[in-house]
Symmetry: C2
Subunit: 479 residues, 2 copies
Amino acid sequence: MAVRARQSGIRDPESALRLFRKLLGDGQVHADSATLDLYAADETPRRCVPRGVLFPHDHDQVRDIVAIARATRTSLVPRGAGSGNVGGATPVPNSYVVSFECMNQIRDLDPADRVVVAQPGVVTADLDAAARAYGLFYPPNPGSAAFCRIGGNIATNAAGPRSLKYGVTRDYVLSLKAVDGRGRSLTTGSRATKSVVGYDLTRLLVGSEGTLALVTEAAIRLLPAPAETAVLQASYSSAEDACAAVGRVMRAQTVPCALEFLDERATALVREAGVNLPAAAQATLIVEADGSAEDIAVQLPLYQRALQGHGMLELAQARTPAAVATLWATRSALSGAVKRRAPLKINEDVAVPVSQLGALVSQIEKLAVTHQLEVVSFGHAGNGNLHVNVLIDPAEPGQKKRAALYLRDLFQAVLSLGGTLSGEHGIGLAKRRFVPLEVGEDTLALMWAIKQQLDPMRLLNPGKALPAVVRRRPRITLQ
Amino acid sequence: MAVRARQSGIRDPESALRLFRKLLGDGQVHADSATLDLYAADETPRRCVPRGVLFPHDHDQVRDIVAIARATRTSLVPRGAGSGNVGGATPVPNSYVVSFECMNQIRDLDPADRVVVAQPGVVTADLDAAARAYGLFYPPNPGSAAFCRIGGNIATNAAGPRSLKYGVTRDYVLSLKAVDGRGRSLTTGSRATKSVVGYDLTRLLVGSEGTLALVTEAAIRLLPAPAETAVLQASYSSAEDACAAVGRVMRAQTVPCALEFLDERATALVREAGVNLPAAAQATLIVEADGSAEDIAVQLPLYQRALQGHGMLELAQARTPAAVATLWATRSALSGAVKRRAPLKINEDVAVPVSQLGALVSQIEKLAVTHQLEVVSFGHAGNGNLHVNVLIDPAEPGQKKRAALYLRDLFQAVLSLGGTLSGEHGIGLAKRRFVPLEVGEDTLALMWAIKQQLDPMRLLNPGKALPAVVRRRPRITLQ
């Protein structure tokens, strides 16, 4: 159905609701308060109740939704599983959430080409499971893989522990079908594994947080699943010693699949969860190696040697699939365990060149003391990418203010170490005001100019990813 | 020196020459006929003598060159080694070539971060050699690595045999410094190995063939050099049998470093060059495995088993570095050997999903018979990416016309197989008219809109990469 909505030029969310119902039918348009409440936020605390939630089934419906949004100047907020950490799926006033939950079909999985064509609503773990049925796998594994959706992964260029060896979402997307804010149907890239025809629109859309176009289909490259996996776990008497070991592992002659760091508090949480770690451990490293059994036998001694050194307390190894799974389950549960420790968790996601990891960890801890806050950090050490969790109780006077000052100081420290505000979570609402600290005025102006070409009416996920105004000094308040 | 050139709005290449000389001095501005002649073409036959050749030394000089070009409406044609295959560095009338040959410094090579910061004029093989001094390597290895320059690699998103396992130039560029057509200095990406802040301008510039910005510096990721390499060489009694073996190798549980195909004529050329191959061989495959000796010992039997099958005549193995080098030297020399066979070689570079490789090879050969042309094809079979070389003598009546018809039919066949016009050479001048066959009208309009944002005066490498007008049916003439 091609909707010919009147180009009124007036913001008219009520007409939009009527037109959306006409287009999709009542079953795919929900505006009851229970649903609106469910879709009012993602994993961040900020909430905004949308006008309605749309559940398109295919590309043409998405195209027609954009046509209606244009005619009624209605904001659209695309959403995968709502598991993002930066408010990327948080509605804005009078907006409609476009949920891709019903577009969850794997269209084609071709083991000869090692390509899967998926709708954006496919759960990341389901995509991986479908690939594994053919001896293949989908390498990026964000912590939320069990419930997040590939469309959200594409929007945020999601990563995870395995990205150290295998790269990020961007490295696996061959081709996209999408609808931009002008209502144009775009097809980017090629199903061939190499293509250099015109500009790389695929990677312009990957990581653009739904602000340029709504992705309706993706062709994704798969790899043969590694035959085996082994995990090493090393504990240290100080974070400094653990970071020195990270440096040694990253100078080894092979790249591990994953190299994770847990600070003192994260180590304690893992210990409380039942993992056997020395009482004196102030930091933990986890190294995963994958490949053939023979190759793992070559890799493990390299990593073992690298892990050993000043301050190492204990080195354990998980070789059986069950032992490996147990260890990773604990690591994966960290995010939730940290969250339960305080009414509000601010989850930052900074990254630095790996040689600066020790300096970053030291800054994280020093600033926690300065601003009197409880901070738990852990993450993808091999990429210099740490999740810095600031635990606060908003009811307690001054905590929010101190947290805001902490973040400002943290970001400045990260940038002075040659790092970046976000390694994998993205900018969303939460960090947009800080973007000008990292991205220069001219470069940011170019990003806005590109936004203008794809979405001149600013209907697609407004207020996300790019800062509203180029400002050298962000205001220091907490969202 | 910040040049304040008059914004005349009139195309004025003579004033440009004066201003360029004032900016750079005579030593960095050449306009003698011998130099102009040298820079009038790249590896394609089309020639156009520029007004001058500029040799900037640093970012600020490039920025000032763009300022002068804007003030005098002068076209700039960036150039690395001029080894491109699609006329990407061919001057246009009244243009100035910006040669990056003097910007050939490796600024920083940090083995702890596995990052090298290089100017665009660094020769690709020199970059790799610098990395190898630290036990690292730069994975993409285009056939021209010995003389091409990393800036040209970035402009074309260059690849090569190892891209099967290791990916392309795009996958290694972390951050770029560049000057766009508005004269803005841009800094994209981050030296951290993961960053998702704003839009991915790094990958928008990689592969844009110098039409959006002039790259002045790149931070490039390196990998630990594999300990060992082994090469298998298999010959077949038909191209069909060889393509079936490619399919089997690509279903093995590991990905080889390279998987190359040589058709009957390429096989004959290699045999003439002294490689021992059965007289009955109608096609050859080369498989390279790399990694630890133990891992290679696991990989080789998998590839050997996959290579064996209907029509295989002989399977040979090179294990010593010298034997491996000899085999690759022959493969690398193929391009030149093919070129010497005819006055004019049209080098196409199509790619299809690897499951369609057999169909592609069959089409290449069928069309050669139909159009009565000599065609030699070889290339990166694992990526479904073949270099299709049409050998013609322009003096012979009808050959150019037949070649043009051949290309039209070839491109249509490739696209109907789900493929792409170019796997790694790019579009340049040579293929721009065919782009609308692959890229839809709306998607192409978006590419032009992006070009407009970065280079509204169309001064940077005009006439390259994007077709002048969106046309469904390209005119069939040969450039």
